[in-house]
Symmetry: C2
Subunit: 193 residues, 2 copies
DNA sequence: CAAATCTCTTGATTTAAATCAACGGGTTTT
DNA sequence: AAAACCCGTTGATTTAAATCAAGAGATTTG
């Protein structure tokens, strides 16, 4: 249990066996069926979820019932409405499972206690958030300065594994396009380039 | 010296007088004239800069010599090409001063040594990057799901002080518009709403 | 297994924003 | 103080992407 979680943790900050045991006590496993919610808009986000298996997404829904995909999380990734988690404000995102999934949950109290008592957990947290920040900065740069076609290419290069598992219209949303536009871009790319 | 830096630090993580002294040894002051570069694309970013006074921007320049503004930093904010700083890769951004500015620089070695030896510095770093991450997520959400007009309104609400000090065409770039489009949006907003 | 729901595609049309171009007022710069 | 540059505005035109609409396979669900 928690194999992948600790594999990823050790990649960032190597742990002794004892430290690993200590951290285990703060973790909670959770299984989620496809289409089940982990979090709904308006609820307070009470955990950070690490994906051991499966795939999730975070998204908002606007006035016209259009879904805006904010984030995907496959195996080895972490997902949460971090703003809600940190501030206690109601979540602005929904998070649900795109496939049957297995998660490792870190509750708010577990998170805070580990930050206070396990220095390596703070380092782990810092490295995680730093990585997420850099990925997001890249995403903004791409969105602001690239055409639709370039954005799609960039996405495919960066996340080929996501492209294979996730419906196309969600990818369209993630890169800020309508499904129709993405369909046409793909057609163009596949045919005469 | 370093008044604002420590004011902001203490807001996030309260320091004793001794800790403050200890940290001071790792800091370097730097003055920058308007239009001077702090960092040029291609150089390795060797510091994190905290703005005591003045205003800076980070931006890239594309094939058509168009500037893409990635970030503004006024008093109390931090600016850097974090990817370059952390990995040692050449910077993809330029950073220069929009006004005569006074900075506090933290070199890479100072940063790493403080992370190792001063737990409160790691906490400070974690909180900083977390805040930057949340701000960036908000920015992405706005860009992906809002019209040009909404993006501008959002910017004005969030950063009224930047809007007052920075040329309009840079704000246009920051929110992903051409200067002409922003000019027209402003006209529309100021007249008949 | 039939119905319902998803998902992607294609076509026609509209629309928001970019592009191209020119101008006038400011502000540096020399 | 003249020249050069920077900045915002406005107009005409183009273009990329959105919207509206319909249909055809897949897949899920009852």
């Amino acid at each position: 249990m928690y194999e992948l979680f600790f594999e990823e943790f050790n990649k960032k900050v190597p742990l002794t066996a004892e430290e690993q045991e200590q951290i285990k006590h703060y973790l909670t496993p959770k299984k989620l069926r496809r289409k089940q919610y982990l979090l709904q808009e308006g609820d307070v986000c009470k955990f950070i979820a690490f994906v051991e298996k499966g795939a999730l997404r975070a998204y908002s829904v606007d006035e016209n019932f259009t879904e805006n995909i904010i984030q995907f999380a496959l195996e080895g990734w972490t997902i949460s409405d971090l703003y809600s988690f940190l501030t206690g404000e109601p979540a602005v995102y929904n998070i649900d499972a795109l496939e049957d999934s297995e998660l490792v949950l870190i509750s708010k109290s577990a998170h805070e206690e580990m930050l206070q008592t396990i220095p390596k957990y703070e380092t782990y947290t810092r490295l995680n958030i730093t990585g997420a920040y850099l990925a997001m900065q890249r995403r903004i740069t791409t969105i602001i300065s690239s055409t639709a076609e370039e954005r799609y290419q960039d996405f495919i290069n960066l996340y080929p594994h996501i492209a294979q598992r996730v419906p196309q219209h969600m990818i369209a949303s993630y890169i800020g396009l309508t499904p129709e536009t993405l369909s046409r871009i793909r057609k163009k790319l596949s045919s005469g380039r």
